[in-house]
Symmetry: C2
Subunit: 319 residues, 2 copies
């Protein structure tokens, strides 16, 4: 059993699920919470899962990073909309020579982390997980759970499979989490965007589930065009996504159960959406080259309007 | 005073308003109605207008084109979504050597009319009118009213100012309707699309009024980008829209009273939207050339989804 300690920054549907799995497997885990802090301190965490329910009656719960021990692995499991907190949050909790594991959507977060903490390894994790927080300290895992890990180096230079990746993978696999190791983080992130950009964006703008988007001719076409634009963006960064990958994503989504995307859930719950991480950052990544992604730009601008008018209406609401 | 007789096909907010103005000015006008036929036959038409209210206690009302007299000028004042009716409607009512006046939005309707009736003049009219139907035979004219007229020739070849245009303009001006004569119908239609494409499309997709679209940075940018794509489409048809025209439209919309577009009203009232006339036809017009209008295509596909899901939900509703 490894001696690595884990800090989970953000104990929600994702961080709570993976952190609880790690603790259940005997790892030393420390949970940062906000609204659920009192509850989790007293009662621990409850996980309902298709792989078997379990509860942790006692967890190391914190509301303040300053009170947390420095950990070997710091897992960023916040929504990217809260990443403005990272410059305060990360430095106190991560050990020298430790690992920051970024379990977030979108692009370019690892670059931000690298600016905040030096002398650490940064590993990106792309989670393929359906889970919801259904109450305080209460998480419902619906399906999937796999994580693709890849290490970050300056300018997203591919690192291949590193020793740090293997160590983290080993801990996560001990906890029953399926892991894939990838050699090129930037390619892995662009590939995830092939799905996230069309479905997250259009589900919010058109108030639709994945099956609805795929069952109408024009949205199915638009989804495909957006996927090809993502591939063009990826290519402008020197990462080739084959057409066959796009066809696989389309076929797979058609066969998938009707799904409400995470961005749609955020929007419906009147929470800020991850527009910058999923749309803004990719657009800026290709900004310098001659490549244009006009339909992604169109979707981005529509989402910014919806995000900002939602924020404005919440402000009115609180007056 | 002219002897020209007028048939108004579609006695709604637009056709009812212009037709009533013509009759009030002494013209011989015949109104085709559908749901309001009984009411208008008994009680005539009531026009509330910022230029002065008036009512016509007696109008020539018809439910069936076969019962209408053949007229010198047949005004198409239906929504373009009902143009599938034109092959039945037009031939019985238009005189040989008569005029068909197309008071509709979008592009390419004149070509359809030319295929249905030969040996007539076809004039396109671009209406700049705010009016609503507020009850049976009851129309409220809120603002504006100007019509730009231009004659159609094969392949939208510019005709210059024709004698027929002057005659119709004279009748309309007698009725107090401000008229502009344009030499090139296709240019006039593309110029109108500079406004209609961004505002009609985005107002529906983003559930927003014009002032809301213009008060957020990203939608203001998106509106402008869409306008430039319309200009690129126009250019591919050999019609140049100067940048200054786009800036004028933007400035003018910022200064305008908050406005809910006609397409948004249709959508809110669960009526079919004029997606093909305003978006589909322009896209097909440039289809053969190398010009791409990706953001307009994106909006078009989003609107098709919204239009078709609305239709589908109405079908469910009636089960």
């Amino acid at each position: 059993m490894s001696e690595r300690s884990y800090a989970i920054l953000g104990t929600g549907a994702l961080g709570g699920f993976y952190g609880a799995k790690l603790q259940k497997a005997g790892k030393n885990v420390h949970f940062l919470l906000n609204s659920d802090y009192e509850h989790a301190s007293k009662f621990g965490l409850v996980i309902e899962s298709k792989d078997g329910d379990f509860s942790l009656t006692q967890v190391n719960a914190y509301r303040d990073v300053e009170k947390m021990p420095q950990c070997d692995v710091v897992v960023i499991a916040l929504k990217t909309t809260q990443n403005y907190l990272l410059p305060q949050m990360l430095p106190p909790v991560v050990k020298d020579d430790g690992v920051v594991l970024v379990l977030q959507n979108g692009l370019a977060v690892e670059e931000e982390v690298a600016l905040i903490v030096g002398n650490v390894s940064i590993i990106g994790g792309l989670c393929f997980l359906c889970s919801n927080k259904v109450g305080a300290g209460h998480i419902r895992h619906l399906d999937y759970g796999q994580i693709t890990l890849a290490e970050y180096a300056n300018d997203y230079h591919p690192t291949g499979i590193t020793e740090k990746m293997r160590q983290i993978a080993s801990d996560l696999e001990d906890a029953g989490i399926p892991i894939i190791l990838a050699e090129d983080l930037l390619l892995a992130r662009w590939k995830k965007l092939v799905w996230n950009i069309p479905y997250n964006g259009l589900s919010v703008i058109l108030n639709a589930r994945t099956d609805e988007l795929m069952s109408y001719f024009h949205t199915r076409n638009l989804v495909e065009q957006l996927m090809y634009e993502v591939a063009a963006g990826s290519k402008s960064c020197g990462r080739i996504i084959p057409d066959s990958f796009i066809q696989t994503m389309l076929d797979w989504t058609i066969k998938m159960k009707p799904y409400r995307t995470s961005m749609k859930i955020d929007y419906d719950e009147r929470r800020p959406m991850e527009v910058e991480a999923i749309f803004g950052n990719p657009l800026r990544k290709v900004h310098s080259s001659c490549v244009d992604l006009p339909q992604i730009r169109c979707i981005y601008q529509q989402l910014k309007f919806l995000d900002e008018t939602l924020t404005a209406s919440k402000a009115n609401f609180s007056l």
